[in-house]
């Protein structure tokens, strides 16, 4: 098979995903644990639907059976510093914060 990258962040190929499925993986989570697809910087945002389609074609089940997958907070990358520094929104009168 020509190399076709499915998970761009972790560089997981279609062949590797197919291998994982043949070994019994039947969910985004299982494939993620075995291949790292969906574990990279974008946390599966780009490849989620692509992998669901591959699963759907293999198992002859609708894509909705495999989506949305497990999503966790923070839903966008934040630094540990930002997490530690969490403060309550201050009292403010009017105006615009930019």
């Amino acid at each position: 098979m020509e190399r076709e990258i499915i998970c761009r962040c972790e560089e997981v190929t279609r062949e590797e995903i197919m291998d994982a499925i043949r070994m019994g993986d039947a969910s985004l989570s299982a494939i993620k644990r075995r291949t790292r697809a969906g574990m990279g910087f974008c946390q599966g945002r780009t490849c989620r639907k692509l992998i669901a389609r591959i699963l759907s074609a293999y198992y002859h089940m609708p894509v909705s059976s495999f989506l949305p997958g497990s999503i966790r907070m923070p839903v966008t990358p934040i630094s540990l510093g930002e997490l530690a520094d969490l403060k309550d929104g201050a009292e403010e009168e009017g105006g615009e914060r930019k």
Binding site: R3, R8, E10, E11, F41, C42, T46
Partner: protein
């Protein structure tokens, strides 16, 4: 600079402040208010980094800060999403090798 649009049938192309940023040591003219990615594309630079596993070239993909294909080392910090980072005068941009800065990659070889 062949990729900058100078005239447009519908849009007004405004005059803005220009300054240099540095790309792998080379000065590139940047326009105030644009992203690092826009500056690089304007100068025909397409490959922003090489990936960790297959050492493949990557550049822009989604353009909105979601996919992280466009990450580069900016002012010494690796993994900066160039498509959502605005340029400033004297900014230092370098091709990123793998998942972190060049210096960290050197440590991996020890």
């Amino acid at each position: 600079m062949l990729f900058r649009i100078k005239e447009h049938p519908v849009l007004e192309i405004p005059e803005v402040r220009k300054f240099n940023i540095f790309y792998n040591g080379e000065p590139l003219e940047a326009y105030e208010g644009e992203t690092v990615a826009a500056t690089l594309l304007a100068h025909g630079v397409k490959a922003f980094r090489r990936t960790e596993r297959f050492h493949e070239p990557r550049g822009i993909f989604c353009g909105i800060g979601q996919c992280t294909d466009c990450i580069m080392e900016v002012d010494g910090k690796p993994n900066v999403r160039t498509c959502v980072t605005l340029v400033h005068p004297g900014m230092v941009v370098r091709t990123q090798e793998g998942c972190s800065g060049e210096n960290e990659a050197k440590h991996d070889n020890l």
